[in-house]
Amino acid sequence: MHDMMLLIEPLIPRLRRYARVLLRDSAAADDLVQDCLERAISRWHQRRADGDARTWLFTILHNLAMNRIRQTARRGAHVPVEDASPAAIARAPDQESRIHQRDVMQALDRLPDDQRAVLLLVTIEELSYADTAKALDVPIGTVMSRLSRARLRLRDEIAGREQPAVPSLRRVK
């Protein structure tokens, strides 16, 4: 039990973050993480001893998140507006940064779930490509193509935003 505590506990903030970005709803995300932790506790002995606890936990959490997203879609439920707003997640735009965080978060929010999951696991949680493939149960080639498409989309969205706020005026000679 003790080794489980040592391995799992430091990961809880990361699990919360991943769930929140996927579900866009912090209360639902914490419910999901609780569910994930309960499963991890009861299945701890089934996990491969040489396996990476982090990858294993993200695998459980991701499956739970996808199930929930599917159920929500089936019920036609809507995400609460205040939670859906990426501004609820993102920090206020930082004047110093080249790209506004709010813009990036909005672009992230518009990615398809599968691309967003890959981008989060690779860039935020810093899982290797192989571990990301394991967590999402897809071939590594799929991870690479989703990652590439996610980045292409983010670039395009940000490029679109960097147009002047009143582009129509520019066309006037």
């Binding site: 505590m5 809880i12 919360r16 690479m144």
Partner: protein, 262 residues
């Protein structure tokens, strides 16, 4: 670009994520140096990555809410009868325990909390055996190392399978003997080892009805650590007054000796 492997999209992703080796990295950098439009794209991707990290970092810095407190979740898992969501039978069992508890008190409580099966039970039994026999100065073992073949015959007969004695001398622990001991799950063989300076380790082995092939599980209680695992229905638990970092490699040595065909 003189005949090297062409730079692929995967290489660019790997470059952005710092996930390629330094040689390939050098090749990507050389490519980017002469392809400014690709270099610009990669720079934007890196800036986006940093921006995402900055935007999401505060979530991971938030205090973890009480309902995600792992110790509490573990406690609840260990005492599922206290959680009445389990259905009528569990409620009935809980009510009955409450009634009995009024009369019977603490004895029942400890029975309820002791691990009753699998690797967790094995670890508990091993820790109990260690506590009884390891500090025994007069007669820690019933059969001494010199009579090892006799111990092996005895244990193999009682466990109804061939058993062998692990060699931990590489870790500085010599075998001093052993005995057959009782557990709630049938007979077990207890081996004892000594480092010559008064530190003793014990290893308990018995047949497993469940958790028949289990990865290593470490547990520390007070001064004592146990490492328990099972293979092909035979469970092992190595116990000693060492911290995990020191006991774990010794258990690995023992496990490796049992990993061949039994």
């Amino acid at each position: 670009m003189s005949g090297g492997r062409p730079i692929t999209e995967d290489d660019l992703q790997g470059y952005i994520d710092d996930a390629i080796d330094s040689r390939r990295r050098g090749e990507v950098e050389a490519y980017l140096a002469i392809h400014p439009e690709v270099a610009e794209r990669v720079a934007i991707d890196r800036a986006l990555r940093d921006s995402l990290r900055d935007a999401l970092a505060p979530i991971a810095d938030e205090p973890v809410p009480a309902e995600l407190n792992l110790s509490r979740l573990v406690d609840r898992h260990r005492r599922p009868r206290r959680d009445w969501r389990g259905g009528p039978w569990q409620v009935a069992a809980a009510l009955m325990l409450m009634v009995l508890g009024g009369a019977g008190g603490w004895g029942l409580r400890s029975v309820q909390e002791a691990p009753h099966a699998g690797i967790a039970a094995l670890a508990q039994e091993a820790a109990d055996s260690y506590a009884v026999y390891a500090p025994d100065t007069g007669r820690p073992v019933e059969i001494k190392a010199a009579d090892a073949p006799q111990l092996v015959r005895w244990a193999s007969r009682r466990l109804e399978r061939p058993v062998s004695i692990p060699d931990l001398s590489g870790a500085g622990y010599s075998f001093i003997g052993g005995r057959v001991v009782p557990t709630p799950h049938g007979p077990a063989v207890l081996y004892m080892f000594d480092d010559g300076k008064g530190t003793r380790l014990t290893m308990l082995a018995r047949n497993m009805a469940i958790d028949r092939d289990s990865p290593m599980k470490l547990e520390s209680t007070g001064q004592v650590t146990s490492v328990s695992w099972s293979r092909d229905g035979l469970g092992f638990s190595l116990v000693g007054p060492l911290d995990r970092a020191r006991l774990h490699p010794i258990a690995d040595v023992a496990r490796a000796q049992f990993s061949g065909p039994i």
